[in-house]
């Protein structure tokens, strides 16, 4: 006589459902998702609600405070601060995502190659160590100074500087991802399912793309979120030092830099872009924290 199996409802739960269930318990991460989504939506949809041209100069209305026409006031040339914060946010977020993507691709490629092919491990990791020993902020400033004019001539003032900043942030922030991915790949490589895949004649490239990378996805995703925060901070720092985006193409960091000179007259010009940077980075860091907990199988019990 077969033993009675208790009649529990067995709903199918995928890995991502599990991750979401754990992630939902992390209050900070949930608030982070909310705040980040609000900022992204506000920055992209805001101009439809508050349709003032950020570059429109209204010299009659300089350095104004809060009013119905200008909810966050105006700057010394009469430009609307709210519209500028929206416009700056679009660029800052675009730089953040693009630079994160570049550094993620580089870091994952270097990490996977180093972890999977033993011959490449030594040289690639020495190369990573070398990059980690570079003085990054000074070098970023130097590279931007050297190539700003060349790229501006090649792609125009806006696209040129965008490419340059995304490129320099990307190639100077991939090292942590590479190290983490390498460690993960080294561990996965020794598992049985890789041996099984190899035994049925799977080619190297397919082993990496079908079996190793999907399993190394969790650390890659965590470093992606942290990469966005890092890229936004770096871009703001460069712009704040006057070596980022030009003033007619402002980002949050550039708005801070320009506002710093008028801090006694219109402190709001510093307050809002700064708050935007801080909230974005804070929310992204909380999301990263929550993701790390949710993706760690040791913490995600049952």
């Amino acid at each position: 006589m077969p033993t009675e199996i208790p009649d529990t409802p067995r709903t199918h739960r995928s890995l991502w459902m599990d991750v979401w269930l754990t992630f939902r318990q992390h209050t900070g991460a949930l608030i982070g998702v909310g705040v980040f989504a609000t900022i992204v939506l506000a920055v992209f949809l805001g101009p439809f609600v508050h349709g003032v041209d950020p570059q429109y100069l209204d010299l009659q209305a300089r350095n104004q405070g809060v009013s119905f026409a200008h909810p966050l006031g105006t700057d010394n040339l009469g430009r609307d601060t709210l519209a500028q914060v929206f416009a700056g946010g679009r660029i800052s977020l675009a730089v953040g995502f693009a630079a994160m993507f570049l550094s993620l691709v580089l870091g994952t490629a270097v990490g996977t190659l180093a972890g999977y092919f033993r011959r490449l491990d030594g040289p690639l990791m020495r190369f990573t160590d070398l990059f980690l020993a570079l003085p990054l902020l000074p070098l970023l400033l130097v590279i931007i100074m050297l190539f700003r004019d060349t790229l501006r001539n090649a792609f125009g003032p806006e696209t040129g500087i965008f490419f340059l900043i995304v490129f320099v942030i990307g190639i100077t922030s991939w090292m942590q991802t590479a190290r983490i991915v390498r460690g993960e790949v080294l561990a996965i490589k020794e598992r049985e399912f890789i041996t099984a895949a190899r035994s049925i004649g799977t080619r190297e490239r397919r082993i990496v793309s079908r079996h190793i990378l999907p399993n190394a996805l969790s650390p890659i995703m965590v470093s992606a979120t942290l990469g966005i925060a890092n890229a936004i901070i770096t871009e703001s720092a460069l712009s704040f030092l006057g070596l980022g985006f030009p003033p007619d193409f402002p980002t949050w960091g550039r708005l801070l830099f320009d506002g710093a000179n008028f801090i006694t007259i219109t402190p709001a010009r510093v307050l809002w872009p700064g708050l935007a940077i801080s909230l974005t980075v804070l929310s992204v860091n909380y999301i990263g924290d929550g993701l790390r907990d949710a993706l760690d199988p040791r913490l995600r019990d049952t």
């Binding site: 900070g28 160590d129 070398l130 020993a133 570079l134 003085p135 990054l136 902020l137 000074p138 070098l139 400033l141 130097v142 590279i143 100074m145 050297l146 004019d149 060349t150 925060a229 901070i233 703001s236 720092a237 704040f240 030092l241 006057g242 070596l243 960091g253 801070l256 506002g259 710093a260 801090i263 006694t264 402190p267 510093v270 307050l271 700064g274 708050l275 940077i277 801080s278 980075v281 804070l282 860091n285 909380y286 924290d289």
Partner: protein
């Protein structure tokens, strides 16, 4: 131990050479011409002569070798001479790295700016550690208490909010609204008596605290997790069961073991806060090394930028080495020689 240190040194030297080459080659690509800032009336042959006098007519490898010689041989010799008031060889004929903008030796300019940076950066790091260690210890000991929750939140905010925003906020609050503290750092101010000392304290307060809070935010998280790693280990239970007072268990047994990774982290962080000082100096108008670098970059003063950037690289490699050696000394298990 000696073998461990020499092995580390053998890694550090090639790294530094590779970095110096990378920096030199990168700056050599510069389209900037040192005569570009001069009046247009200067005839081309004079321009060529100026370029020759700066040594720009020579091929890349010759200039690189000469720069290496100046940086690694001549300048250290000069420093030795100044320090001990002696003369080594024909010191006046030794070529030095000179700034294009001021024509004075780069090392002299850097030495002039060094004290301001060291004071602000050094003090902020010391304060950062003094704030971070107790917070980390208490949050770990009372894990998930309200102190821990608030501490976690504040440190998350602390390292998410960039210093160029906290600095400006501090200026709005303490300089513009309350008018307690000056927003510009006056380097010419000399401390002679108590009141001038107080002025110095007031002008250092904001830059130091802004950097200190940023450093403390990161360190306190690290301190907390290092303490948590140790608190549940067997030796802690042994110490308690021996009847040691909780204070002694925590501060003598657990803290000392938890400090091992924290001390290395502190050593590793020193170069980072130097580059963080680039931003802080810009906010509070401290004319230190960071501000010097920004001015040199904007003025395309290549020798000064080269030397300063390489100095930052030397700092990173040096403190990595120090951190490695410290780790080896403090934790005998790590010494894999």
């Amino acid at each position: 131990m000696i073998r461990f240190i020499t092995r580390r040194l053998m890694f550090a030297v090639p790294t530094l050479i590779a970095i110096s080459f990378a920096i030199f080659a990168l700056l050599d690509l510069a389209p900037n011409d040192p005569t570009g800032q001069l009046p247009l009336t200067i005839p081309p042959e004079v321009r060529a002569q100026i370029r020759d006098s700066l040594g720009l007519d020579q091929p890349f490898h010759v200039r690189y070798a000469k720069w290496m010689e100046q940086f690694f041989v001549n300048e250290p010799l000069n420093l030795l001479e100044e320090a001990f008031d002696i003369e080594i060889g024909a010191s006046s004929e030794r070529p030095r790295i000179r700034s294009w903008a001021t024509r004075s030796p780069v090392v002299d300019i850097i030495a002039e700016r060094m004290p301001q940076t060291l004071w602000v950066v050094g003090m902020s790091y010391v304060f950062g550690i003094l704030i971070a260690v107790p917070i980390g210890v208490i949050s770990a000991y009372r894990q998930y208490s309200w102190f821990d929750q608030i501490g976690t939140f504040i440190s998350m905010v602390g390292f998410s909010v960039p210093t160029f925003f906290t600095g400006l906020l501090a200026i709005i609050l303490f300089s513009v609204m309350l008018q307690w503290l000056p927003s510009i750092y006056d380097t010419t101010h000399e401390v002679t008596d108590l009141s001038s000392f107080w002025v110095q304290v007031k002008q250092m307060l904001m830059p130091v605290m802004v950097l200190a809070l940023y450093n403390a935010a990161q360190l306190s998280r690290f301190m907390r997790s290092a303490m948590l790693d140790n608190l549940n280990l067997d030796y802690v239970r042994t110490a308690r069961s021996k009847g040691l007072r909780e204070r002694a268990v925590l501060l003598i047994h657990v803290l000392r073991n938890s400090m091992i990774p924290v001390v290395t982290m502190i050593a590793l962080g020193v170069p980072t806060i130097f580059s963080g000082a680039i931003i802080t100096e810009q906010i509070f108008r401290v004319n230190g090394l960071g501000q010097l670098l920004i001015v040199a970059i904007q003025g395309a003063d290549i020798p000064l930028v080269q030397t300063l950037t390489f100095l930052f690289a030397v700092l990173i490699v040096l403190f990595n080495l120090i951190a490695d050696v410290l780790y080896g000394i403090l934790d005998p298990r790590i010494r894999y020689d």
